[in-house]
């Protein structure tokens, strides 16, 4: 019964979003209809929420008469993964997508009090159109609430690799980010319809971009962290198509964040900002298509369905095609905006945008190249990490090099020499740190040492910029304190995000270059040397999990005779799907981690049982996950800035 109500609510949501788009777009001219459009946006959200709740209920109660539950759930699964199973499948994840899409629409209706009535109405109208596309797809082509005529007694369970807390939270955050760009897209289309893109428009777009980008950062980080400890390969980024699919909207979102500042503060780059706003959601949709269609071979794409990829591609073509066609038609009429000198903050942000978009283009090309090559009849190829290291990394390194200069250069006409002068200390620290790493850390690696220098340069640059703003070391303490408390939160957000990028760079370079790996088949009592550490396999026991059986190794980690920690890696077998996964044991050592995987059982040379034990020493690996979290925190801190609160946004 609840399932049928949910299915009805989903169909209702489709009808309501048709109403929302019609009322919203017409309401741009007739204010009388605008209120109804807002009501429709709220109602659409409530209807999708009802459908989604019905799916959750079906999963929690293990109602196997629902096809999606039968395919992805199991009675023995822990509650968290029953709930997470709701978005672990293709159909469920598209419903989550719709839920978030309509939630953003409702959020614009509720929080957009300061928006001009016509703009708000049109934004809701465009958001409604996107809702129609995706709700129609979900209702007709991928309905998660469809029933089975002959329900099975037991479900097929969720892929055990997905039964993990980080991955339970990964899709909601990722989608909050992906779909958050839909609001920005709607704002861009609405502005193109109105034919006006000005500073006020940019100020209204910024909070949505910030929110989407920050949540996407969290989502990608959770995914990387999951890949790091669940796959048991010791890596956290593989330049896999599915990873690239989430990374491209992130890069474009980062470019948009910066260009929107220029449009807001100086009224310049308005056409470019609108273009990026359209591109960000286009990349989100491209990501959904790449991930869900399985058109590219990925090591971690789940719930793929090639037959429906074409439909997703069609949706993307319709939405982005219409958006960009409108852009081509209306953009030439946009006001050109303020002028700026070659040495100014605007110019540096333009350079940042060029580098970010060029980097995105290389990622896009690398991701799609196997498809292109195949389409023109060539051999099957794969584009792996070497390609991205060669193209993406130098472009980003350039962007990171100029980054600290940006916030220290004035708008309109700046003095690069003055900024460079202020950054002297940061530059010296960075070069010293890089040189120290080159000399001290063995084996010697020049590129990684340069990367470390770059990380310190970013952190130093962010601290310098904060110090300059509060006049630290130059003004008396009371004034510094007044400035410390008086600075807008947006400024602190920027400092935090830039420093977070530096923290990430440090971790990424150090871990990639200097990780130590060792593997050996050990019988009980055997030992493995990992850098300066000794891993001894003391015993292997069995563990009964809620829906799995596991072999658990007890591995004592010592360093020159002193106990460091006891690691308990597991190898789990899930009878429901007849799959096994390895549960990695992590030992934290400050910023470093010792990463231990218990492999499968095999016969030792003497015929007794042995287990392949694989250990990694990952130096500074925690910074890789800490850095992006700092960036997301910076974004959210900026979001809480009074200037960006929508209610206060009605100034000219």
């Amino acid at each position: 019964m609840i399932t049928e109500l949910g299915a009805f609510a989903l169909a209702l949501a489709l009808a309501l979003s048709i109403a929302q788009s019609a009322l919203g777009l017409l309401g741009g001219r007739r204010p009388a209809l605008a209120g109804a459009g807002e009501g429709a946006a709220l109602a659409t959200f409530l209807a999708v929420a009802a459908a989604f709740s019905a799916l959750i209920v079906a999963f929690v109660t293990s109602d196997f008469s629902v096809a999606n539950v039968a395919a992805n759930s199991h009675t023995a699964k822990p509650l968290l993964y029953k709930v997470a199973g709701a978005w672990g499948s293709h159909e469920g994840s598209m419903l989550l997508w719709c839920l978030i899409l309509t939630a953003y629409g409702a959020a614009v209706a509720v929080f957009g009090k300061g928006l001009p009535a016509s703009l708000k109405s049109r934004v809701l109208g465009v958001q409604g159109l996107l809702g129609v596309l995706f709700l129609a797809y979900t209702t007709f082509a991928s309905n998660p609430l469809a029933r089975l005529i002959e329900p099975p007694i037991e479900g097929r369970s969720l892929n055990p690799l997905l039964q993990d807390p980080a991955l339970a939270a990964h899709p909601p955050f990722l989608y909050l980010g992906y779909v958050g760009f839909s609001v920005v897209f709607s704002f861009a289309v609405a502005a193109l319809i109105e034919g006006r893109v000005d500073a006020a428009w940019a100020r209204w777009v910024r909070p949505w971009t910030l929110a989407a980008w920050s949540l996407l950062t969290v989502g990608i980080t959770l995914g990387a962290f999951w890949a790091y400890y669940e796959l048991g390969w010791g890596g956290w980024w593989f330049w896999d198509p599915v990873e690239n699919a989430s990374f491209m909207p992130w890069l474009i979102g980062a470019a948009l964040l910066h260009s929107a500042i220029v449009t807001e503060k100086r009224g310049a780059l308005s056409g470019w900002t609108v273009f990026l706003a359209l591109a960000a959601f286009t990349f989100s949709m491209l990501g959904a298509f790449l991930v869900r269609s399985g058109v590219l071979t990925s090591v971690h794409a789940f719930a793929v369905d090639p037959t429906r990829g074409v439909l997703l591609l069609t949706i993307m073509a319709i939405a982005s095609g219409a958006g960009f066609a409108l852009f081509a038609w209306r953009a030439p009429a946009l006001a050109p905006g303020g002028v700026f000198a070659p040495a100014s903050r605007e110019s540096l942000i333009v350079l940042n945008n060029i580098l970010l978009t060029a980097a995105t283009a290389t990622v896009l090309l690398g991701t799609l190249f196997p498809l292109i090559r195949e389409a023109i009849g060539g051999e099957t190829v794969s584009v792996g990490p070497p390609f991205f290291n060669l193209t993406f990394v130098p472009l980003m390194a350039l962007a990171l090099m100029i980054l600290p200069l940006g916030p220290l250069t004035a708008w309109k006409r700046g003095d690069l020499r003055r900024g460079a002068d202020q950054l002297k200390v940061a530059a010296i620290v960075a070069v010293l740190a890089g040189a120290t790493a080159y000399v001290m850390v063995s084996p010697r690696k020049a590129m990684a040492s340069a990367g470390l220098a770059l990380g310190f340069w970013l952190i130093g640059g962010a601290l310098t910029e904060a110090a300059v703003r509060v006049k630290a070391f130059r003004a008396p303490w009371p004034e510094v304190r007044r400035r410390l408390t008086g600075l807008p939160r947006g400024t602190w957000g920027m400092t935090l995000a830039h420093a977070g990028l530096g923290v990430f760079t440090l971790g990424a370079c150090f871990e990639t270059a200097w990780k130590v790996e060792a593997a050996e088949a050990l019988a009980v009592g055997g030992q493995l040397r990992l850098g300066g550490y000794e891993l001894s396999l003391d015993e292997v026991g069995t563990v009964d999990g809620p829906n799995y059986l596991a072999e658990r190794g007890v591995i004592r980690v010592t360093r020159s005779g002193k106990a460091v920690c006891t690691a308990l890696p597991e190898r789990r077998f899930f009878p429901a799907g007849r799959q096994s996964t390895s549960e990695v044991a992590l030992c934290n050592r400050g910023l470093d981690q010792i990463y231990i995987v218990l492999g499968e059982r095999r016969a030792a040379a003497d015929g007794g049982p042995a287990w392949l034990v694989r250990g990694y020493f990952n130096p500074w690996v925690q910074l890789i996950f800490l850095g992006p979290l700092l960036m997301a925190l910076g974004g959210l801190l900026s979001l809480s800035d009074r200037r960006l609160r929508l209610a206060a946004g009605n100034r000219p």
């Binding site: 096809a67 039968a70 395919a71 991928s142 089975l148 002959e150 329900p151 099975p152 097929r156 892929n159 690799l161 048991g232 399985g294 058109v295 590219l296 071979t297 090591v299 971690h300 789940f302 719930a303 793929v304 369905d305 037959t307 429906r308 002028v339 700026f340 070659p342 110019s347 333009v350 060029i354 060029a358 980097a359 290389t362 690398g366 099957t380 190829v381 794969s382 584009v383 792996g384 070497p386 390609f387 060669l390 193209t391 130098p394 472009l395 350039l398 593997a519 050996e520 088949a521 799907g577 799959q579 996964t581 390895s582 492999g599 499968e600 095999r602 016969a603 030792a604 392949l612 694989r614």
Partner: protein, 159 residues
Amino acid sequence: MKLWPTSRTARRRLTILLAIAPVLILAAGLTLWGLSGSISLFYTPAQALAAKVEPGQAVQLGGLVETGSVVKHPDGRVTFRVSDKEASATVDYQGDLPDLFREGQGIVAEGVFDAGGVFQATRVLAKHDEKYMPREVAKALKDQGDWRGDGERPAYDKP
């Protein structure tokens, strides 16, 4: 002739162009260089034989793991044969196989052929999702006419 234009808009356009051009040239150059040097070709064992892949060239080898060919050595090495029904190649791999690695299943191995024709794998990939096999393997088998479908999906999991 003055090279630096006097009109403001023209100046701005020129500045932006001067900023974009080097980045674009750099990006395009790196991309071409990257595509010429660091992509790896995918072969099935029969294709690898036909193409006479040179020892030491990084390639991907895909196919089905021959039933009964997997040997796990005590020192952690694993050897198995990958076949595409026409030819097969021995793969030597040092490390832990993916959780979904099974005999009879499609896999992709990354690595190089050594002088003796044994494939020295640095990484072995099997799909997490047991329903599908790697796309390249499926395509290669289809091209050879050896394709027998994705396997029947149970009735309750039909799209």
